[in-house]
């Protein structure tokens, strides 16, 4: 009996968390519609959760029962667009040279610049 209650409550908190995340996304969509910001509604929802959650940690914790499993298995959600992407392989091959240079080049410079700049800045702050 006790186990059953706990299980029901677990499922309930997952559903409540999912509803909260969806609600924030919809709120974001509404705000985007009202302000004509060139930003996806879900990203505005992220910022709202960040702002409210920084002040009220308990509010953010309510999103965790659905948020954590979603983030842990985020990659599952990329499988369908990825499958669609495989249908675009011909475009990819057609522009393979420029794409490889742009992607690998900006990957490598971005990684090195970010690592070196942040390390330098953190060190300076540490010694100051």
């Amino acid at each position: 009996m006790g186990l059953r209650t706990a299980e029901t409550d677990g499922a309930r908190s997952v559903l409540a968390a999912l509803a909260l995340l969806l609600g924030l996304q919809l709120l974001g969509t509404l705000l985007v519609d009202l302000t004509h910001l060139p930003v996806p509604g879900a990203v505005v929802g992220l910022v709202v959760l960040l702002g409210v959650g920084a002040r009220f940690p308990r509010f953010a914790r309510r999103a965790e029962p659905a948020g954590e499993p979603l983030l842990k298995h985020l990659q599952l959600l990329f499988v369908p667009p990825g499958v669609g992407a495989l249908t675009q392989l011909s475009t990819l091959v057609q522009h393979a040279g420029p794409l490889a240079l742009a992607v690998v080049g900006s990957f490598a410079t971005g990684l090195v610049v970010a690592g070196l700049v942040l390390q330098r800045l953190l060190r300076r702050r540490g010694t100051a």
Partner: protein
């Protein structure tokens, strides 16, 4: 057989099954970055769809629940950021400067390389959301008129590069600080890089997911402005 293959749940079953199987394979082989579960699952699903003669449109309608979950998953990205909030806030200036410098450099290199090689404008637009985490890349890509499916491939490529050669490259340029390593991986290779960063340490992973989210926010604001030059 036909009834089974074209049942509404088949695509979803196939996707979840392939993802779980690929994850298990990945663990058993010692987590090689090239066999990232998302890549293996993509290939397996594509091959099965091809073999059974299921169109991409039919497949998409079967997995619409996964597409729908991208929104709440994006909102949930606030959670890791809230967790590492105190450490980030203490070093906010360093973080902000790094974010801006890296953003300018990597967008600059992308645009310069493609323009120099005479690539069409649409291709430039498609390459822009590359370093951003996929749910955000999809929505931003749509907003700026990118070829979103191709943008997803490039996003995956950046993620896999980050997980495979990222730590090696950071070693070469002597970036030893766990926070700087994590941040660099997250900023250029989002979720896939972050999962690799988590394997190094909790600090590296935390800074990596923070970098992923901050970069997504920065790029959401910056890319539409950059994209205007290519319309």
């Amino acid at each position: 057989m036909n009834a089974l293959v074209h049942a509404p749940g088949f695509g979803l079953f196939l996707t979840v099954g392939a993802y779980l199987g690929a994850g298990e394979l990945h663990r058993r082989l010692g987590r090689p970055a090239l066999l990232a579960p998302v890549l293996v699952a993509m290939v397996v699903v594509s091959v099965v769809l091809e073999l059974l003669g299921i169109s991409y449109a039919e497949y998409l309608s079967s997995v619409s629940v996964l597409t729908l979950l991208l929104g709440p998953a994006t909102v949930a990205l606030a959670l890791p950021l809230l967790r590492s909030g105190r450490a980030l806030l203490a070093d906010r200036l360093a973080v902000l400067v790094t974010l801006v410098v890296t953003g300018v450099v990597s967008v600059g290199v992308t645009v310069a390389a493609l323009v120099a090689l005479g690539a069409p404008d649409e291709l430039v637009l498609t390459t822009l959301p590359r370093s951003v985490t996929t749910p955000v890349a999809l929505t931003v890509g749509e907003a700026i008129g990118a070829n979103t499916t191709l943008a997803v491939v490039l996003t995956l490529v950046s993620g896999v590069l980050g997980a495979t050669v990222g730590p090696w490259l950071l070693d070469r340029v002597r970036v030893t600080d766990a926070r700087a390593r994590g941040f660099a991986l997250g900023v250029v290779s989002h979720g896939i890089g972050t999962s690799r960063a988590l394997a190094e340490s909790d600090v590296t992973g935390g800074w990596s997911s923070a970098a992923m989210v901050l970069n997504a926010l920065a790029m959401t604001v910056a890319l539409p402005v950059v994209a205007r030059a290519f319309h």
